[in-house]
Structures are given as structure tokens and as C-alpha cells.
């Protein structure tokens, strides 16, 4: 055994490490992810600006056209679209890819932390972020005169449903991040959003769509999500509109989470 020692170093006491537990692992991962968001504003600013811009431009360009085909309050009709634009595809997947590339992901894997918490913690941070992103959109809506038929509670439900949709969609970029470890692939994952966002009732009501677009919109979960959000704004608590919207979120979430957690299992399998 080597005998030389350093005099300056303080004595080191022994401590007993233990499993922190799932909840603590989850909050640790989520807190780290949330803390990083204001330190990299460039990653969030587009998600903030794009929905506001679309909302303003769509109203300016299409309001009179929409009113001509029977949409009474086009501003209320467009607000859910802006929310969907704000929350869809917003995730910490690019941070996850950075962790994989830098080796920090491996550092996490050599700790006893829960592997599920490693991903779910990021998703919890995403949920908090997307709900926060709904707020400025909602404020802009109020500024242009949009009102909720369901009142304050309806506005809260509106933000919650928007947040849950954002969460349901995050599984896709995480699945890509964990399968590929490639920043370019994760950056391209937003392309998944386009068919969801445009082949639906983003600009016109379902009754006004015809042909193939109407057929695709019928199967697009965002059609039902938008219907649920619009009913909160314009009609009241219409459960016949709300349930299909919640079911659409559940189905997309089940699919994307299955892909994401499957990819996580593959990434941490040690095989």
C-alpha cells in the first residue's frame, strides 16, 4: 500500500448511501430540468413566439372568411389552435440527447436511481413548462376579446387539457432521442407535428372540410382535442365534446409513452 498522505485534506467520515426512492428521484430529475430552462432561453422562445404569431396572423387573414362560412367567433375558434401550437413537441429531449452524448446519462445510470424516474422526471418538467407556455397565449386571447363560457374553472381546465396534450406528445421526441442519441434526429422530430396540426380543423370547422382532408381529420386526434377546447370556450361543459378530446389525449399518450419507455428500456438494458 502506498504510504504517502496529504496533510491539508480534511478527515473524511463514512456515510451510508441508500436508494433515494422513486418520488425523490423523480423530483430531482424534474427540478434539474426546470432549473436549466431559464439558462437556455433560446430553446423556449420559439415555442412562445410561434403560437402567438400564428394566432395573430390567422385572425388577421381568415377571420372574415371564417365568419362568411358561419364561424361566429373566429378568435375563440383559433385560441385552441394557438394552444396546440404552443405545447405540441415541447420537450427536454434535446437535453436528454446532450446528456447521452456527454456521458452524463451514464453517470446517472451508475447511480441507484430509478430508470423510470429518469424519463418521467423530464416529462413532469415538460408538463410544468407547457402549462406555463399556455398562459401568454391565454392572455393574448383575453386581450383580443375571447371569453370562456365555462368561466375561470373552464380556463383552468383549458390549460390543463392543453398541458396533458403536450405531455402526451412528448413521448415521440423522447423515443427518438433514446433510440438514436442523435441531436439532428430529435430536432427533426417536430416534423411529426405537422400532419397532426394541419390535417385537422385548425382553420375551418369539420363541417366545412371536404374530400380526403375531411376523412383524415376524422381520424386525427387533434380534431377531438380542438373540439373539447372550443366547447370550453364557446359552449360550456359539454361532456360529449370533452370526453372524446380526453380519450384522444389518452390514446396518443399511450402510444408515445409506450414508444418512449420501450426506447428507455433499450437504452439502459446493458445488453
Amino acid at each position: 500500500m502506498n504510504s504517502s498522505t496529504t496533510a491539508a485534506a480534511p478527515p473524511v467520515t463514512r456515510i451510508e448511501p441508500k436508494n433515494a426512492g422513486f418520488l425523490r428521484d423523480l423530483t430531482s430529475v424534474a427540478y434539474r430540468a426546470l432549473r436549466a430552462i431559464p439558462r437556455d432561453p433560446a430553446a423556449v422562445i420559439p415555442a412562445l413566439i410561434i403560437p402567438l404569431l400564428f394566432f395573430v396572423v390567422n385572425i388577421g387573414a381568415l377571420e372574415s372568411v371564417a365568419q362568411g362560412i358561419g364561424v361566429e367567433d373566429f378568435r375563440a375558434f383559433q385560441l385552441p389552435v394557438a394552444i396546440v401550437f404552443a405545447v405540441t413537441g415541447v420537450s427536454r429531449a434535446s437535453d436528454l440527447v446532450t446528456d447521452i452524448g456527454s456521458g452524463y446519462f451514464d453517470r446517472l445510470l451508475v447511480t441507484p436511481m430509478s430508470r423510470t424516474a429518469l424519463l418521467l422526471g423530464l416529462m413532469v418538467a415538460d408538463l410544468a413548462l407547457v402549462m406555463a407556455l399556455c398562459v401568454p397565449v391565454l392572455i393574448l386571447g383575453f386581450l383580443v376579446g375571447v371569453e370562456f363560457a365555462t368561466g375561470v374553472l373552464g380556463a383552468l381546465a383549458f390549460v390543463l387539457i392543453g398541458g396533458l396534450w403536450g405531455l402526451a406528445f412528448t413521448g415521440f421526441p423522447y423515443a427518438i432521442a433514446l433510440r438514436t442519441g442523435s441531436p439532428a434526429a430529435v430536432n427533426s422530430s417536430f416534423l411529426l407535428f405537422f400532419p397532426f396540426a394541419f390535417l385537422t380543423t385548425s382553420f375551418l370547422p369539420l363541417e366545412a372540410l371536404t374530400g380526403w382532408l375531411a376523412a383524415i381529420a376524422d381520424y386525427n386526434p387533434i380534431t377531438y382535442l380542438l373540439a373539447a377546447l372550443r366547447s370550453l370556450l364557446s359552449e360550456g361543459w359539454i361532456w360529449a365534446d370533452l370526453w372524446p378530446g380526453l380519450l384522444a389525449i389518452f390514446i396518443v399518450g399511450a402510444l408515445s409513452f409506450t414508444l418512449a419507455f420501450g426506447a428507455l428500456r433499450g437504452r439502459v438494458s446493458r445488453g
Binding site: 436508494n19 425523490r24 456527454s102 451508475v110
Partner: protein, 334 residues
């Protein structure tokens, strides 16, 4: 774990990637309180075996254990007891050093108070002053490496895996890491499994050294034992002309126990260096009739051991692997 018990064991560990056996049937045992130096060139299999032992990879065959727990069937127990600093400093540039240390403590179930106390102990090692509260993206390479080591120590592990801990460090930072490794070993009896391609690092720190080449453990022992393997002294001769002629002449000398030709240089293991110099010079001049450019005598190094067991020098081997790696992945960061 009491001193003398097995802290790390590998029994016929293999790890394959497709047809390539990165680790090919390695068996070794490290006692509690030992510093074990795992020496080999780039690509020899050091990091792969380390990743198997610290539960990042499953062995393709064989078994490994750390602190008495099987790495394949009890990875959670191993992770609680092992500290790991992998080859690249694995950090998050958006966090501060203090935040990363606190986060690491949380993953090992330490309370905020215990983590703070532990961080206070580790500050001496990190030695980055006020920078601990700055974001890691602003740190130098040496600061990152020291923080990486501190992260591996937050939970006071029984076994510490250090995968090339001083690669890329300046001499001062390297000395500091060596000092800390010795202190951890001396003060706490912490078992250290240290991979390195630096001969002097293994020589300086390790109680025992295992030499790995092309996935196989080719020699093992204390540095002194290993050096003894190749004779008491080493004579290096550089000749002008055909080194094969020199080899033929030197092979006839009874005191030459081992001889390697490396370009124009010949490395001879001899039992008594000072008395062998004269016969060697005479054999080259009169028997081989060859000009000697340089003739020197020195104690054997681990590099000589590596040359003896693999047929090449570790520095040449590392340079070759680095060059091969660079040509395969020209865009890959080092």
C-alpha cells in the same frame, strides 16, 4: 468490508460487440484496500471491463462482483457501493458545480444537510474556489476532471472506479488527482480500480498492476514483480545498419535473458547491467561489425514489461490505436 476480503472479482469475463471480443476471458481479483492499476493501450479493453464491473454493460460470459455483489444480478447493490469516474468528465454544462454535487447526493438518498457536509469535505479535492457556484460550461478541463472525481465520491463509495482519470490533465492537476487517490486509499482504505495508459501512473499509484492487451489479461503482479519478470536491468542499444546482425551477435551472449528488436533499437534484459555493458559493446563491434549510435543502461519500466508480454511498446500501441480511431471517426471529438 474488512481489509483482505475480495472487493472486485472478475471470473472469465467476456464482453463481445458482434464478432469483436473487447474483453476476452479476463479473470482478476482485487482485495479490499488495494489500488489496482489496469494498464493497457487505447482499445485494449480497459474501459469495457470497467463498464461491465460498474454495471453499465452486461458481461457476454463469465461473472463479476463488486463489494461482494454480482454485477449482473445485483446491480442496484453494486451501484450503492461503487463510485465511478468514466473516461470523459461527464457533467452538465448548464448546472453549477455545487448544484451537481447536491443532485448527486440526492440520488444516493443523502439529506440536504448530509450532502452539504459531504460537499464541504470534497471542496478540498475540487479546489475550484468560488467557481463551484459558476456554471460548469465555464470550467477548464482540469476543473471538470476534479469535479467529476468529487461526484464519484459524494456517496463515500467502498470501491472507486477511475477510468483514465488523468488523461488530458496538466501535470499539476494530475499530481492533485494522484494525491487524492492515495489519500482515499490511505485514510479510508477505499479500494481503487484505476485504468490508465500512463505507465508512470500505474507505477506511482498501484499496489498491483494488470496488463491488458487485445482484450486479454497478459500479465499481473506488483510493479516490482512485473519488472522482475524481464530481468534485473535493461540495456538499450541503437545501431546503424542491419539490427538483425546485431541481434544474432547479442543472442550469443550468456548474460542476455531476453532481446527485443524495435526498428534500429534493441532492448536487452540482462541479469547484471553494469557488467554486461562491455561484452555487449564488444560483441557489436567485433562480432557483428556494426556501428553503435547509442548504448544505455537503465532499470526496467512497466513499458519494458508491456513490450516483453505483447511484443510492442505501450506508447506505440496507443499511438497506433489513436491514429486508427481518428481515421475511422474523423469527426468524433476526443
Amino acid at each position: 468490508m474488512p481489509s483482505g476480503e475480495t472487493a472486485i472479482s472478475a471470473e472469465g469475463v467476456e464482453r463481445r460487440f458482434g464478432d469483436l471480443a473487447a474483453v476476452d476471458g479476463v479473470s482478476l481479483e482485487v482485495k479490499t484496500g488495494e489500488i489496482y492499476g489496469f494498464l493497457g493501450p487505447n482499445g485494449a479493453g480497459k474501459s469495457t471491463l470497467t463498464r461491465v464491473l460498474c454495471t453499465l454493460l452486461k458481461p457476454s460470459a463469465g461473472r463479476g462482483s463488486v463489494a461482494g455483489y454480482d454485477v449482473e444480478s445485483q446491480p442496484g447493490e453494486v451501484r450503492l457501493r461503487a463510485g465511478v469516474a468514466l473516461q470523459e468528465a461527464a457533467l452538465d454544462d448548464k448546472q453549477t458545480g455545487a448544484e451537481m454535487l447536491a443532485l448527486q447526493g440526492r440520488f444516493y438518498g443523502l439529506s440536504a444537510k448530509a450532502t452539504k457536509a459531504r460537499v464541504d469535505q470534497l471542496i478540498t479535492l475540487v479546489d475550484i474556489g468560488d467557481a463551484l457556484d459558476r456554471r460548469i460550461g465555464t470550467y477548464s478541463g482540469g476543473m471538470k476532471r476534479r469535479l467529476d472525481l468529487a461526484l464519484a465520491l459524494v456517496h463515500d463509495p467502498q470501491v472507486l472506479f477511475l477510468d483514465e482519470p488523468t488523461t488530458g490533465l496538466d501535470p499539476v492537476s494530475r499530481a492533485k488527482v494522484w494525491q487524492e487517490v492515495r489519500r482515499l486509499n490511505d485514510d479510508l482504505g477505499m479500494t481503487v480500480f484505476l485504468t490508465t495508459q500512463y505507465l508512470e501512473e500505474a507505477d506511482e499509484l498501484a499496489d498491483r498492476v494488470g496488463i491488458i492487451n487485445q482484450g486479454k489479461l497478459v500479465a499481473e503482479g506488483t510493479p516490482t514483480e512485473l519488472k522482475r519478470l524481464i530481468g534485473t536491468d535493461v540495456v538499450i542499444v541503437t545501431v546503424e545498419g542491419d539490427p538483425a546482425l546485431a541481434r544474432d551477435a547479442l543472442d550469443l551472449l550468456p548474460m542476455v535473458e531476453h532481446l527485443e528488436v524495435n526498428g534500429p533499437s534493441l532492448t536487452l534484459s540482462v541479469s547484471d547491467g553494469p557488467s554486461a555493458i562491455s561484452p555487449i559493446a564488444v560483441a557489436l563491434a567485433q562480432v557483428a561489425e556494426i556501428d553503435v549510435i547509442e548504448l544505455s543502461l537503465r532499470r526496467p519500466s512497466l513499458d519494458d514489461v508491456f513490450l516483453s508480454v505483447t511484443g510492442e511498446r505501450i506508447a506505440d500501441s496507443s499511438a497506433f490505436m489513436a491514429s486508427a480511431s481518428a481515421s475511422r471517426n474523423p469527426q468524433e471529438p476526443k
